[in-house]
């Protein structure tokens, strides 16, 4: 896949081939065209210093091959932000990392030519060999519009090819066109981009020569939007879609996840029986199988998330959702599109952060990325469930509702409010400058292609497994080592298994670390065993539950839940007192609500913001927030119960 050395920051050009850059507005089918031309050879990389990416791949042409670079979608080449400046720098050859392309292929949506010819004019004015691809031509004609491609080509002075990109029609013509890329004409008379009135005249004149007929609005879209954008019906549909979103995650994904978990548990047992006991067996069983299992158990959920998001996006519903939600999101300084990212983060922040790619403003994107992890994600659920069970009796009721359920709901609410507030703070302070005016394009509803959906799911999922999976695997292995070493075989030789495990843990590296860190968390009521759990959970939150499980089993293998309740401080000022008192539990829950405890999220943040600055800032501010609120919660709860 990376025959020409793709790296995080630079995607290289195949030696000796002509490089053609694809330029066009968002929503024109440019990406579909790129994918069809380059197939699986494409690799994506960031431009240096900014968050936008470009993809590069090789396209086969009748007489050889051509490198195709897909530039970020843009409505105009006049830059409005550093992100867009980079694209212009690239095209004009001012970047060190990317040379100017040899030729420019401008992709225009034939249904909005009055607008997109403006971009075409700017492209022609650059002076590169240029050609034009018209997309959505089927839609143009279906909606009563028309265009004479030959006449358009004559008026523009460059070759023009018509396609229906997402269905693959016209692709062979584009390949033939690419064959001659080096000899595409350069516009001798650049269009008058400097003067607005003259440019409008140019556009009108060109389209008149091409006998362009503006298409009517899409009847189907108008009809559907009458419902979906209706203040009452639209909102109801929206709530239903969001509810369905959740249901699918928790209902459909859960059984699949259990199945996957079952498979890994089974393999764990196989390992235990066949590899005997001893360190290797334990390593394979706990670290390897457990680690890999931990990652893959996530997969069904993540795949479903990506699937639903990409279907909604491809159909065009996401814009409608953003339209309905924008007013609310605007209160936080975000825009309606951030809603999708936030919603996805309630399952897992990784797809949520990646969903911010659709946001044109880099500032909005970063604000969303920094605040999305505060949404209650599914990894926090097991922790909350254990802690709520310790805090609230099973049968307590709040009116007709279960108190435990209400507590869980409160945590979700807390996550949501915190997220919106933090986003607002970020927008108001660090990210204040460089505001782009809000706009949102509503594409007509389109039937997605299976190919497009599969691609939209496969690419990020594979990336998740490769990059994030590696990290979790490594961390799990390291944790295993920390908890199980030094081995202390001599001392534990005569103890029974539970006591032996307990002894080993207490005297392991992790134990030492836990005790070392204990003073820090003492005001919150955590003891060193909880601290070990916390250390482990900084890699992934669910690890806390399994670590506490190990601790509890060590105390009382028969009933871990009860064992946790019975846990007492082993030393220090509270020696003998219960560890899991109400204030401590509240503190722990608040800590988990706000702390950054997910290496996967950090890795994704790093990738999407193209720097370590933001993930580092996230860890810092979230730790402060977590510690502060946990302390506050501990103190207030202490006051309330006394």
């Amino acid at each position: 896949m990376s025959c020409h050395g793709s790296t995080e920051s630079g995607v290289g050009v195949l030696e000796g081939t002509v490089e053609v850059a694809l330029l066009g507005s968002p929503n024109t089918g440019k990406s579909s065209l790129f994918n069809r031309l380059t197939g699986l050879s494409a690799a994506t990389g960031n431009y240096p210093g900014v968050t936008v990416t470009r993809s590069r791949g090789t396209a086969r042409t009748p007489s050889g091959s051509v490198t195709v670079t897909d530039l970020p979608g843009t409505y105009s080449l006049e830059p409005a932000s550093p992100d867009e400046e980079v694209v212009l720098d690239h095209l004009e050859g001012r970047l060190e990392s990317d040379a100017a392309p040899d030729a420019l292929l401008v992709v225009l949506d034939s249904t909005t030519l009055f607008r997109s010819l403006g971009l075409c004019a700017e492209a022609l004015a650059l002076g590169h060999p240029t050609a034009v691809v018209l997309t959505m031509v089927d839609e143009l004609r279906a909606r009563g519009g028309d265009v004479d491609v030959t006449a358009l080509s004559r008026a523009l002075g460059v070759p023009v090819v018509e396609t229906v990109a997402h269905r693959g029609r016209g692709i062979e013509d584009v390949r033939e066109l690419l064959d001659a890329a080096a000899s595409w004409p350069v516009a001798l008379i650049p269009p008058p981009c400097d003067d607005d009135a003259q440019l409008r005249g140019w556009i009108r004149s060109v389209l008149d020569s091409a006998r362009y007929r503006v298409p009517g609005s899409s009847v189907a879209t108008s009809r559907i939007d009458r419902v979906l954008l209706h203040p009452v019906w639209g909102s109801l549909v929206f709530l239903a879609v969001m509810f369905g979103f959740f249901q699918v995650i928790f209902t459909v994904a859960a059984p699949i996840q259990d199945a996957v978990q079952g498979v890994f548990d089974h393999w764990g047992e196989l390992a235990a029986t066949n590899l005997g006991s001893g360190f290797f067996a334990d390593f394979v069983g706990t670290a390897l199988i457990g680690g890999v299992g931990g990652v893959l158990v996530f997969l069904p959920q993540i795949m479903l998330l990506y699937l639903m998001i990409s279907v909604l996006e491809a159909v065009g519903y996401m814009s409608r959702a953003a339209f309905l939600m924008d007013r609310i999101m605007a209160r936080s300084g975000l825009d309606g599109r951030a809603f999708v990212a936030m919603l996805s983060s309630t399952a897992c922040a990784v797809p949520g952060i990646m969903a911010t790619r659709t946001m044109p403003s880099s500032r909005d994107r970063i604000a969303t990325i920094m605040s999305a992890p505060l949404m209650t994600c599914s990894a926090r659920l097991p922790v909350y469930l254990v802690l709520i069970a310790l805090l609230v009796p099973d049968d307590a009721r709040l009116g007709p509702f279960s108190m435990q359920g209400a507590a869980l709901f409160a945590m979700y609410l807390l996550g949501g409010l915190a997220s919106l507030t933090v986003a607002r703070v970020f927008k108001a302070t660090l990210l204040r400058r460089g505001a782009l005016p809000f706009y949102l394009e509503m594409p007509p509803y389109r039937l997605p292609t299976l190919r497009g959906i599969l691609r939209a799911v496969w690419v990020p999922v594979w990336m998740f497994v490769r990059k994030v999976g590696t990290i979790i695997l490594v961390v799990t292995a390291v944790l295993w080592v920390l908890i199980n070493f030094p081995a202390r075989e001599a001392e534990t030789a005569r103890m029974d298994e539970a006591a032996a495990q307990s002894y080993v843990m207490e005297n392991s590296f992790a134990g030492a670390a836990g005790k070392a860190v204990e003073p820090v968390f003492e005001p919150l009521g955590f003891d060193w065993r909880v601290d070990i759990g916390l250390i482990g959970s900084f890699a992934a939150r669910e690890v806390f539950v399994s670590t506490m499980g190990q601790v509890a089993a060590a105390e009382d293998p028969e009933d871990p839940g009860d064992a946790l309740r019975q846990l007492t401080h082993t030393h220090g000022p509270h020696q003998g007192a219960q560890v899991f008192t109400a204030p401590t539990i509240v503190a722990l829950m608040l800590f988990f609500a706000f702390a950054m405890q997910c290496v996967s999220t950090l890795a994704t943040m790093r990738r999407e913001t193209n720097s370590w600055k933001w993930p580092a800032l996230a860890v810092a501010y979230m730790f402060v927030l977590a510690y502060g609120t946990a302390w506050l919660g501990h103190w207030i709860t202490g006051l309330v119960i006394s």
């Binding site: 409505y75 009055f114 009108r204 004149s205 954008l229 007013r327 605007a330 005016p437």
Partner: protein, 98 residues
């Protein structure tokens, strides 16, 4: 919606914000006073002087507003819509209509 009598002397006070769903309007001026970036971006989306705009609908809470311009459907928030001045639709010899 106010009707502007002459093209230049008395500036029309109506903005895109005042165009009701289902009504057409013709853009007379995109205010560049605050930020040239905003004006250019609006222009790139199709909100240019002389273009015909149709208001399609408003969001439940009044913002954003969905418009049809240059063959595409684009939403703007109230603040941006307010910075685009319009006049009632005048019949312009638009070349494309056949």
């Amino acid at each position: 919606m106010k009707r502007s009598k002459r093209e230049s002397s008395a500036p029309s006070c109506a903005t895109l914000c005042d165009v009701k769903p289902g009504e057409d309007a013709c853009i007379t001026l995109v205010e560049g006073a605050l930020d040239p970036v905003v004006r250019r971006r609006l222009g790139a989306l199709g909100f240019r002087e002389g273009e015909q705009v149709t208001c399609l609908r408003r969001a439940p809470m009044g913002s954003p507003i969905l418009f049809r311009v240059c063959g595409a459907e684009v939403c703007l928030r109230k603040e941006q819509a307010r910075s685009v001045r319009v006049a009632e639709q005048t019949p312009e010899p638009v070349a494309a209509a056949s």
